[in-house]
C-alpha cells in the first residue's frame, strides 16, 4: 500500500492516528485532503472560518507525519467532496481511503465510485 488518502473533514483523532500508523507501517505516502464543501460555504464568513480550520488541521497532521518521518502531501480544495475524492484517488493512483463514516458527504457515492480501492471507515 504505497499511497493512502485521509479525508480530514470531520476526521476524528482515531482516523488521523490510523492513517499515520498505516502510512508508517507500509512506508506509504499520505495524502491529506481538506475540502471546502461548496454546499456548506455559501456564506462568506463561514467560508473564512472553514478555511482557517482546514489549514490548521492540515498542518497539524503534517507536523505529526513529519515527527514519524512519513511522506505527506497536503491537499486543500474547494468543491464537492465526493467528486474530489474520486478524482484524487484516480489521478494519484491512491490505494486506500480513510474517512469518518459520519463525515458530511454522500458515502454511498464515494464507495460506488471507488470500488477497486480499500475504504476504511472508522
Amino acid at each position: 500500500m504505497k499511497k493512502i488518502l485521509l479525508y480530514l473533514n470531520e476526521a476524528k483523532e482515531e482516523n488521523i492516528e490510523l492513517a499515520l500508523s498505516l502510512a508508517e507501517k507500509f512506508s506509504s505516502r499520505l495524502y491529506v485532503l481538506f475540502c471546502l464543501n461548496s454546499e456548506e460555504i455559501k456564506k462568506e464568513e463561514l467560508k473564512d472560518k472553514k478555511e482557517d480550520e482546514g489549514w490548521q488541521k492540515l498542518y497539524d497532521v503534517e507536523e505529526k507525519a513529519f515527527q514519524k518521518e512519513i511522506k505527506v502531501s497536503l491537499l486543500f480544495f474547494e468543491g464537492k467532496p465526493e467528486i474530489l475524492i474520486s478524482q484524487l484517488m484516480k489521478s494519484y493512483e491512491i490505494e486506500a481511503l480513510i474517512l469518518n463514516p459520519f463525515a458530511n458527504l454522500n458515502l454511498s457515492e464515494v464507495i460506488n465510485k471507488n470500488k477497486e480501492r480499500i475504504i476504511i471507515l472508522k
Binding site: 489549514w55 507536523e63 518521518e69 502531501s73 497536503l74
Partner: protein
C-alpha cells in the same frame, strides 16, 4: 499571536531571486536568516529544513512554496520571502513552479504559533489578488503593505 506582516522581516525580502534550484533557493533564504541573526546553528537549521523537503513538497500549488522548519537553532518565529520571475521547481502537486517562496522558521518552544502562522499564510496566499499583487510589488515596503492589507 503576531500578524504575518509583523513576522515577515523587511530585510529578509528578496524580489529578484536568481536561484533556479529548490535547494539553492532555500539556502539563499536561510542565509538571510543567518545574516539577520535568527539562526544560532546554520548546519542544524539547514539539516532540519532539508529533512522536511525530502519527506514532502512544500510547494502548495498556484506558484507558491512555503518551506518551513521548527528547530532549536531558531531564536524566534520569523518569515523571509523571495520572488522568482522564472520560478523554482518545488515539486508542487499541480506541477507549476513556485514564484512566491516564503520560508518560515520557528523555535522548538513555539509549536502552536508556528503551525498557526503556516495555516494563516497558506490561507492568505490562496487569494488570487494577493498573489497577483505580490508578483507586481515594486519594493519590500509594498510586499509588507500587501500582506498587511489582506490579513486585516
Amino acid at each position: 499571536m503576531k500578524k504575518i506582516s509583523e513576522i515577515l522581516v523587511k530585510e529578509g525580502i528578496i524580489l529578484d531571486l536568481k536561484e533556479k534550484e529548490k535547494i539553492e533557493a532555500i539556502k539563499k533564504l536561510s542565509k538571510k536568516l543567518i545574516d539577520l541573526g535568527y539562526i544560532t546553528d546554520a548546519k542544524e537549521f539547514f539539516s532540519e529544513i532539508l529533512k522536511r523537503e525530502n519527506l514532502e513538497s512544500t510547494g502548495i500549488g498556484m506558484g507558491i512554496a512555503i518551506p518551513h522548519a521548527r528547530s532549536k537553532a531558531v531564536k524566534d518565529l520569523v518569515i523571509v520571502f523571495a520572488r522568482s520571475e522564472e520560478g523554482v521547481d518545488f515539486s508542487s502537486l499541480d506541477g507549476k513552479p513556485a514564484h512566491l517562496i516564503f520560508l518560515i522558521a520557528g523555535p522548538e518552544n513555539k509549536k502552536s504559533e508556528y503551525l498557526l502562522t503556516l495555516a494563516k499564510l497558506s490561507k492568505l496566499l490562496r487569494k488570487d489578488e494577493v498573489r497577483i499583487e505580490l508578483n507586481k510589488a515594486k519594493d519590500e515596503e509594498e510586499v509588507l503593505a500587501i500582506i498587511s492589507k489582506y490579513e486585516a
